[in-house]
């Protein structure tokens, strides 16, 4: 018996806590992943609240610079690896088998393993941060999320080593998850569902999984090399013995750039579902979107050095990376075009998921367009490592990634719980998020254009006004998210019954099931025409 059939053979879940610890059921694991992502979203948010509180006024009020560095580094690592990626993985766990008519993921036990690595990785990352309050060690890593400075001199102590082990663990977790997705999507589809009929969300995740498989080992290897450099006397990144500190940047950005798309692709995959549902139209430009996603996947691997245009690359490399990066705008605009096509001449209604999807398009559009400016090397010399960059990637990561995840959450929440959420509160949450998000990040453009570097705990007086507004916006944005908790908890507890279809225009196999779907689904595969 294989794992797949073995899992199905367990008819009933364990009771209580054992159910969640031992589960190999894709729906249970999906919920675990998503809950973990949600919790980490608030942990990472809390950290950035402290950072923004420090930046409210010029001068050092609350934090020492070392503490400040730790807080923004942990914020970034937690948000990317702890919140957005696990949440997207949770969605794929829950939805891919339902969307392709499979009984479960192909490797359910591996799936369980992949999830249970995550809490330990998170603990490992955070341990040094808390230990310092008890006088042990010098705190967590404070090098920025990609650790792109040479770590040999910048920070001794255990923080970076713990971060390295965290990265290695996350690598294992992501890779098992990715392999699982690839195998499931390629091998477990219901009869009749050819690849070109696979829902776009599954396509996006299949491509994401391939990106993970290609990029994550490089990141793990870079982390291992860093570890051996720090403790075992190798000299990969140590200039003293022929190593090259810039090599570390190359390796890390070789992963780091695809990582940006790993965060965004799942959202790009689910946006067409939502737009189509609430426009009551079929998906627009399905093939074009699949090809665009593939093209972005390919391009993301050949443009990494645009993150290091100020590190002194040769002229030829600068020109190449500039033009290659600009090429990404073409497949990305194909996606935007298809999103426009999805709502054009539809019959739209504006429930919360639709609002978030449209908010995604508007904010991601801003992030993407400014991304068109940044590769221009001359302009990049000005924008690189300034607050312009901070604003830019928050428009893509928050305006893209998180808005997408929230759209997905609202869209499938009635399917997961069987209850409708409070629509009024959902809309309130959306508008408050949009307003406070823009109050937070628009001023950062101007601070950056005016010459404010990022990663600074303190700033010159000319940046005061912008930072004050930005901090106030950030506090609002943080508070607003508490509303999301309230909405989700209330929806889980009860509320009006959701139908199987949930939304009037919803299509797809997952909406042929009752809400919530039974513990085991599609044990006999459905026939797809």
């Amino acid at each position: 018996m294989t794992e797949a059939t073995a899992a199905v053979a367990h008819d009933h879940p364990h009771a209580g806590i054992m159910r969640w610890l031992t589960t190999t059921n894709h729906k249970d694991l999906g919920i675990l992943y998503m809950s973990f992502g949600g919790i980490m979203f608030f942990v990472g948010g809390l950290f950035i609240m402290a950072v923004r509180a420090e930046l409210l006024y010029p001068g050092l009020q609350l934090l020492s610079p070392g503490m400040y560095n730790q807080l923004f580094t942990l914020h970034a690592l937690i948000m990317v690896f702890g919140a957005i990626m696990p949440f997207a993985t949770g969605l794929n766990n829950y939805l891919i088998p339902l969307m392709i008519g499979a009984p479960d993921m192909a490797l359910p036990r591996v799936n369980n393993w992949g999830f249970w690595i995550l809490p330990f990785a998170a603990v490992l990352l955070l341990i040094p941060f808390f230990l310092q309050f008890f006088g042990t060690g010098s705190g967590a890593t404070g090098l920025g999320w990609m650790m792109h400075n040479t770590t040999l001199d910048i920070q001794s102590g255990i923080g970076i080593d713990f971060a390295i082990f965290t990265i290695l663990l996350l690598g294992v977790s992501s890779l098992t998850g990715a392999i699982n997705v690839v195998v499931t999507a390629l091998n477990m589809r219901a009869p009749g569902m050819v690849l070109m009929k696979m829902p776009l969300f599954v396509w996006a995740w299949l491509i994401t999984a391939f990106m993970l498989i290609l990029a994550m080992p490089v990141f793990s290897a870079a982390a291992t090399m860093l570890l051996t450099d720090r403790h075992f006397g190798t000299h990969f990144f140590d200039a003293a013995n022929g190593g090259d500190p810039i090599l570390l940047q190359h390796l890390i950005w070789f992963f780091g750039h695809p990582e940006v798309y790993i965060v965004l692709l799942p959202a790009w995959g689910l946006i067409p579902h939502i737009l189509a549902t609430f426009s009551r139209k079929p998906v627009y430009g399905y093939r074009a979107q699949v090809y665009a996603l593939c093209a972005i996947c390919f391009l993301s691997f050949i443009v990494w050095s645009h993150h290091m245009l100020t590190s002194g690359l040769p002229l030829a490399a600068e020109v190449y990376f500039m033009y290659a990066t600009m090429a990404i705008s073409v497949p990305t605009s194909v996606l935007v075009f298809c999103w426009l096509g999805a709502i054009w001449r539809g019959a739209m209604t504006f429930e919360t998921p639709m609002l978030f999807a449209l908010g995604f398009v508007a904010h991601f559009g801003m992030g993407a367009l400014t991304g068109l400016v940044l590769p221009d090397v001359a302009v990049n010399a000005q924008h690189h490592n300034s607050y312009v960059l901070v604003a830019h990637f928050h428009y893509t990561f928050f305006g893209g990634g998180i808005f997408g995840m929230m759209a997905a959450l609202y869209y499938w929440l009635p399917k997961f719980t069987g209850h409708m959420f409070d629509e009024k509160l959902g809309r309130l949450h959306f508008w408050l998020t949009v307003i406070s998000f823009n109050i937070t990040f628009i001023p950062q453009w101007f601070a950056g254009l005016d010459g404010m570097p990022r990663h600074v705990a303190d700033y010159a007086l000319r940046f005061s006004a912008m930072n004050f507004i930005s901090s106030v916006g950030a506090f609002l944005l943080g508070l607003t998210q508490l509303l999301l908790v309230y909405i989700v908890v209330r929806c889980v507890r009860g509320g009006p019954k959701a139908t199987g279809q949930v939304w009037e225009g919803a299509q797809g196999l997952e909406f042929t099931l009752p809400s919530p779907p039974p513990y085991h689904t599609f044990e006999t595969p459905p026939e797809v025409k």
Binding site: Q132, N149, K281, M322, R345, D376, A381
Partner: protein
């Protein structure tokens, strides 16, 4: 010569960071900030007004950098403004269509959903392809060609430079060197810890002021060589439009040609540890005659210092001078009474290093001895190599002073000439 001012190392609060939450914000400083912000608020409203209301003709004032004073900065500002206009244009065009669709194609206004899944007619295909052709045109021709010229100008090696300046970055200061003139000095932040921690009012150039600015002549092509001696730093003056990393062990270069005299301020732009925010760059651009005057003056100073170092100093002279230097350079960490700060900065009083040997019989520097520490610093700590920033006489004086103060009674002294020989 001016002495290095208090730097980030001097601040006990930064070292004692097991207590990160020091609630030292004072009311009067908070009021001060609010006044500052009120003063700047109209600017913000103004910008918001232009961003959302005005036509692109005003766009230049929105997307302004700090005043560009080099050809490269002017080029990149122009490119940035034009590019920003283009993307705002694209954004407005695309989202106008979105907005139209959102208002027209709603269920509540009785719209009937279409069933199409892609462009149908030839007209629709043309409509679908055009934006992409336009985008490619923008990417590779409209902005792409000027961008190429801008880069080749930025990396220009065709024209020879008029002079060279070498910048050596270290945590958290810059050392500037004019190899052809034989001038070298260290430039560190001059803002006081009191201002940073809200005990004093913040000055106009808070965090953007240094003890020794880099002096450059205007209208000269200056090649700037960059290197680091610890981690990666990045040298950035927004008005110059150039930014480049200083990498340990690897030489990098860029160039500036400043067209307008003035004082230009920038900061380190690569996260480089705790003092990253406190590593400002100040460049004073002056006309060539003034620059030559400054060089002559610097040279006179150093030959004067050399002459002073050449003579034999009496103990009294050394002690008096040492007291002076100690107050400015050392007392912030090691304290006025030489007792240091337990757990953060070691005491000099009764220290085994201060009370240990500094020179051996042949006159060689005792490795890790007192004089070696003062001259070459201790890696990985706040104790920096003062031979880069202090003169022979100053080092000799302060070392002699430390060995014969705070209850230390070594009784010996060191002459500037000896220090000179040990550099």
């Amino acid at each position: 010569m001016e002495l290095a001012g208090a730097s980030i190392h001097d601040d006990p609060a930064i070292r004692v960071w097991r207590l990160p939450f020091s609630f030292c914000s004072r009311h009067e400083t908070a009021n001060f900030h609010i006044r500052q912000i009120k003063k700047q608020l109209p600017l913000w409203f103004w910008i918001a007004f232009f961003l959302f209301v005005s036509e692109p003709a005003h766009a230049k004032s929105i997307w302004d950098f700090q005043e560009p004073v080099t050809p490269v900065a002017r080029t990149s500002l122009a490119a940035s403004v034009e590019f920003m206009r283009i993307i705002m244009g694209i954004y407005i065009a695309v989202f106008a269509v979105f907005a139209y669709s959102i208002f027209k194609h709603r269920k509540s206004s009785g719209a009937q959903p279409g069933t199409f899944t892609g462009p149908g007619s030839r007209r629709q295909w043309i409509l679908a392809i055009t934006p992409f052709l336009l985008l490619i045109y923008i990417d590779y021709i409209w902005m792409g060609i000027p961008a190429f010229h801008a880069i080749s100008r930025m990396e220009d090696t065709r024209t020879a430079a008029d002079m060279t300046v070498k910048v050596t970055a270290s945590q958290w200061k810059w050392q500037y060197e004019y190899p052809d003139e034989g001038i070298s000095f260290v430039s560190a932040m001059a803002t006081s810890q009191g201002q940073i921690h809200g005990r004093e009012a913040k000055g106009e150039h808070y965090l953007l002021e240094v003890d020794n600015p880099l002096i450059l002549p205007t209208n000269k092509k200056v090649r700037i060589l960059l290197i680091s001696t610890d981690v990666i730093h990045s040298w950035w003056v927004p008005s110059f439009g150039v930014k480049r990393d200083a990498v340990p062990g690897y030489l990098r270069e860029m160039w500036v040609n400043i067209e307008k005299p003035g004082i230009y301020r920038g900061q380190c732009a690569q996260l480089c540890g705790d003092g990253h925010s406190f590593m400002p760059i100040v460049v004073e651009a002056v006309a060539e005659p003034q620059f030559n005057e400054w060089v002559a003056q610097k040279k006179a100073q150093s030959s004067q210092a050399e002459a002073v170092a050449g003579k034999a100093w009496s103990r009294e002279e050394l002690m008096a001078k040492g007291d002076e230097v100690y107050k400015v350079v050392c007392s912030a960490c090691h304290q006025a009474d030489g007792k240091g700060l337990p757990g953060a900065f070691p005491a000099l009083s009764g220290s085994s290093i201060v009370n240990g040997p500094m020179l051996d019989k042949e006159g060689h520097l005792f490795k890790d001895g007192h004089l070696d520490r003062v001259m070459n610093g201790k890696p990985g700590t706040a104790m920096q190599a003062f031979k880069n920033s202090l003169s022979d006489a100053e080092i000799a004086a302060v070392v002699t002073y430390e060995r014969n103060s705070f209850g230390n009674r070594m009784g010996d002294m060191v002459q500037p000439a000896q220090v000179k020989a040990l550099r």
